[in-house]
């Protein structure tokens, strides 16, 4: 009887759970659908806002000629990264063409992209990948060799200057970039992945977080460190190193370090759910934490550690949204960042929220994480990982010896997943814990030496939107041809972006032969623009070398000054704006001319004075003579 009751009880429980489970799932999924819709609308709103601030019509690309002028620098590259990772329709091809050209140009200089900042390589590599390009093949350098931004900016950077010259950011972004396509590191490379991982770990603070200045955890830096370390969270390998802040000898796995960092983030999260750094709650800090959580497969909408007073990270971020679609930096005026106003959408806050939302959407859609640009796994593997995760979740908390075969079985399944994909088994740590509890040896291979599998390839673009990204446009149209012929004969640097864009488009077009004749014209125009750029640089150099100190400019400099002015005037109005110190040149010329005029005036006056003096003398003599004559006349009389 008792047993029957128990059986009945369990039966009811079973029924309830069978009936309710799908209900819960259904509720969950409509909830998710609602959130996803909201994310897409917000993403769209940010891009629309950005377009409006630049005076771009809604149906035109954000990455227009004006925007492309900033390709390859910090103010330009982050929007394309956000856009590319969401597959938002835009002019990817043009961005790619221009950024590649910018890279090639900067590779002509001694410092390449930068003497000090390796993050230049990282940001540009990520932007190229986001636009569907290949940073391993980013053009050719001055010697005609292919430019490999990954080698130069990450594993071989040390041959030139330390990856960490700019501090912890160099290591963090170096690792993110290295894993963006799970790049293989050659044997003769300067750094291994382990080297970079250890450098990041070494910078962990006693409070578990990370920061730029090495004192206490900063939300942004802690989040970024997690983003970099995420692919190694499932590695059982431990690293031995000396902690920088304490000088203590430490042995730790990446998982232990990341868990500490997560605890710290949860602790420094404000009651409102916000993150702040240096005392002011702001959108960007929260955005970085969102990216970090999604990289680890932690649901930012549901994980209790990051929900404060009912507010999850998405709730928090959306509080910074403005009616115009953009986002503010902070609700309070931040004296540290006076260009960001509490009531005005801010470009940096908006771009970071953009890619944080993209990261969240990718997580919810089970796409690869924000900075993983590889092709999606095939559906069989995705399915296998999903099933494994479900099974791991079912491992009971109170383990008994009876669970052993199940756990062993799950581990065997885990080992069949390629090493470079194991970071996507987000709850592997539960399996590892269970194995430890049961005394099952963990024989999983270390991740760092085995994660590198690619030597190149284009970044993958997946669209969240119905409109597909047409980034492999291979037809050169009549309209494109028209655009070429309507370029003026007289080139200025203003046409740089347009020329580069059209050249790339034509070069890649299937019907290239049809318009081959235009290629020479475009090449000539590009060459002309290069000449003008050189001329601008030469004039600027001439001014700096010959004009100062300006007080010492004299008549002997007249020829130089006139030459500068003549060359300046030969430039188009647009290019003239790129000449610096033309005021000083005009001033020098005026000064010289005034001096010359003064000489002429002095000369003329002197001539007059001399002439008058001569007249005076002559007259005096005449008078003397007349007097003498008169005297003689008188005497005669």
């Amino acid at each position: 009887m008792k047993n029957k009751l128990i059986a009945l009880f369990f039966g009811i429980i079973l029924i309830i759970s069978f009936v309710c489970a799908p209900l819960a799932v259904a509720a969950q999924s409509t909830d998710d659908e609602h959130v996803k819709k909201q994310i897409l609308e917000t993403i769209d709103g940010i891009i629309e806002w950005k377009k409006r601030t630049m005076g771009i019509a809604s149906d035109r690309p954000l990455l227009n000629n004006e925007f492309l002028l900033n390709a390859g620098d910090a103010s330009g590259d982050w929007y394309p990264i956000g856009i590319g990772r969401s597959g938002y329709p835009d002019d990817y091809e043009s961005y790619l063409a221009v950024i590649r050209d910018v890279v090639q140009k900067r590779y002509q200089t001694d410092e390449l992209l930068s003497d000090t900042k390796a993050t230049e390589w990282h940001r540009i590599s990520l932007a190229i990948l986001a636009m569907g390009g290949d940073p391993v093949n980013a053009g050719t350098d001055s010697k005609g060799n292919p430019i490999n931004l990954i080698a130069d900016g990450t594993y071989n950077r040390g041959y030139n200057v330390s990856l960490g010259k700019q501090g912890i950011n160099g290591w963090i972004w170096g690792l993110i970039t290295l894993d963006s396509m799970r790049y293989e590191i050659p044997d003769d490379a300067y750094y291994t992945r382990e080297d970079i991982i250890v450098e990041i770990l070494r910078n962990q603070l006693p409070d578990g977080g990370f920061s730029l200045n090495g004192k206490e955890a900063d939300a942004d830096m802690t989040a970024m460190a997690i983003q970099a370390l995420a692919p190694y969270y499932n590695s059982e390998e431990t690293y031995e190193y000396k902690q920088r802040a304490t000088n203590e000898h430490v042995e730790k796995s990446v998982r232990e370090a990341v868990d500490e960092a997560l605890d710290t983030l949860s602790q420094i999260q404000l009651d409102s759910g916000d993150f702040s750094s240096w005392g002011i709650a702001n959108a960007e800090s929260t955005a970085q934490v969102m990216v970090a959580l999604t990289a680890l497969g932690i649901n930012p909408l549901e994980d209790e550690r990051f929900i404060k007073n009912g507010n999850n990270l998405l709730d928090v971020i959306l509080q910074y949204a403005m009616d115009d679609g953009g986002f503010i930096h902070s609700e309070k005026f931040d004296p540290e960042n006076p260009s960001a106003l509490p009531d005005e959408s801010n470009t940096m806050a908006s771009e970071q929220v953009l890619y944080a939302l993209v990261a969240l959407y990718r997580y919810l859609e089970n796409f690869r994480s924000l900075y993983d640009f590889r092709e999606e796994m095939d559906s069989a593997l995705k399915e296998k990982i999903a099933e494994l995760q479900d099974a791991i979740d079912d491992i009971p908390n109170d383990l008994t010896a009876a669970d052993r075969p199940v756990v062993e079985d799950l581990f065997a399944t885990y080992l069949t997943i390629p090493i470079e994909e194991r970071s996507y088994v987000f709850n592997y740590y539960k399996l590892a814990d269970a194995m430890e509890a049961l005394g099952i040896p963990n024989t999983s291979e270390p991740i760092a030496p085995n994660i590198g599998i690619n030597n190149g390839g284009n970044g993958t673009i997946i669209s969240f939107f119905e409109e597909d990204v047409n980034h492999d446009k291979t037809i050169f149209t009549e309209a494109d041809a028209e655009a070429v012929t309507s370029l003026p004969d007289e080139m200025t640097t203003e046409h740089y972006v347009e020329v580069i864009k059209l050249m790339e488009r034509l070069d890649r077009a299937e019907n290239k032969e049809e318009f081959e004749h235009l290629l020479d014209d475009l090449a000539a125009k590009k060459e002309k623009i290069k000449e003008i750029e050189a001329e601008i640089a030469a004039i600027n150099q001439l001014i700096i070398e010959h004009l100062y100190p300006i007080d010492e400019i004299g008549i002997e400099d007249k020829a130089t000054v006139e030459e500068i002015i003549a060359r300046y005037e030969a430039l188009s109005e647009y290019d003239q704006q790129k000449i610096q110190g033309i005021d000083d040149v005009n001033r020098a010329l005026t000064d010289i001319n005034n001096t010359i005029r003064a000489y002429y005036i002095s000369g003329t006056l002197a001539v007059i004075a001399v002439a008058l003096s001569i007249i005076l003398v002559i007259r005096a003599r005449k008078r003397k003579f007349n007097k003498l004559k008169q005297k003689m006349l008188l005497e005669d009389q």
């Binding site: 620098d73 900042k117 004296p335 700096i544 005009n586």
Partner: protein, 188 residues
């Protein structure tokens, strides 16, 4: 006779004019060529450029820069110098004039090329950000206060004193803590 005296006086006048200088200028010309003259009622500001902090962090300095050419013996790249303040001059305008007039190397990033929305000073006298370790770079103060925002956004007033200082420790070595925004924006 009287006529002669008149002529004599005229000659004397001519000589006087020549001796006194014949640089006769139109108003525009005068304004253009004397814009930076420091007169009694001119509004002026002061500027100095100092890399003294590097001297205490010599081991961190890029070996290629360990030369008096880049870091003078006393650290002073430019002693306190007075400049005329033109209307609406920003710290950047004065710095630009200063380095040009004194032939000091300077590299900057234009306001539209970075995330500050302001000109960003990358290097002065070949000392760049990170030239002296990961926490190094140029900072500026006006009347002893560190304004926390871009050089081309700070409009100066009569008598302001600008100091450009190189830090090797996020400002702590020159008496001012570097901030989050600066750090974050510079690094990206």
């Amino acid at each position: 006779m009287r006529k002669d005296l008149l002529v004599l006086a005229f000659i004397a006048l001519l000589i006087a004019v020549i001796v006194n200088g014949t640089k006769i200028q139109s108003v525009e010309e005068y304004y253009l060529t004397h814009i930076d003259d420091i007169t009694e009622d001119a509004e002026t500001v002061f500027i100095s450029i100092d890399a003294g902090a590097v001297l205490d962090n010599w081991d961190k300095l890029d070996p290629a820069l360990r030369d008096e050419k880049y870091v003078p013996e006393d650290g002073v790249i430019l002693e306190k110098t007075e400049y005329v303040l033109r209307p609406n001059d920003t710290v950047f305008d004065i710095l630009l004039r200063t380095v040009r007039h004194n032939k000091i190397h300077m590299e900057y990033q234009g306001a539209d090329e970075n995330v500050f929305g302001s000109v960003y000073i990358q290097g002065i006298n070949h000392l760049y950000e990170f030239s002296c370790g990961p926490l190094s770079g140029w900072m500026y103060s006006v009347n002893g206060e560190y304004p926390e925002y871009g050089v081309s956004r700070y409009v100066l007033e009569d008598g302001d004193e600008i100091e450009f200082k190189y830090t090797c420790d996020l400002g702590r070595d020159i008496g001012h803590e570097f901030t989050r925004e600066e750090g974050r924006k510079i690094q990206r």
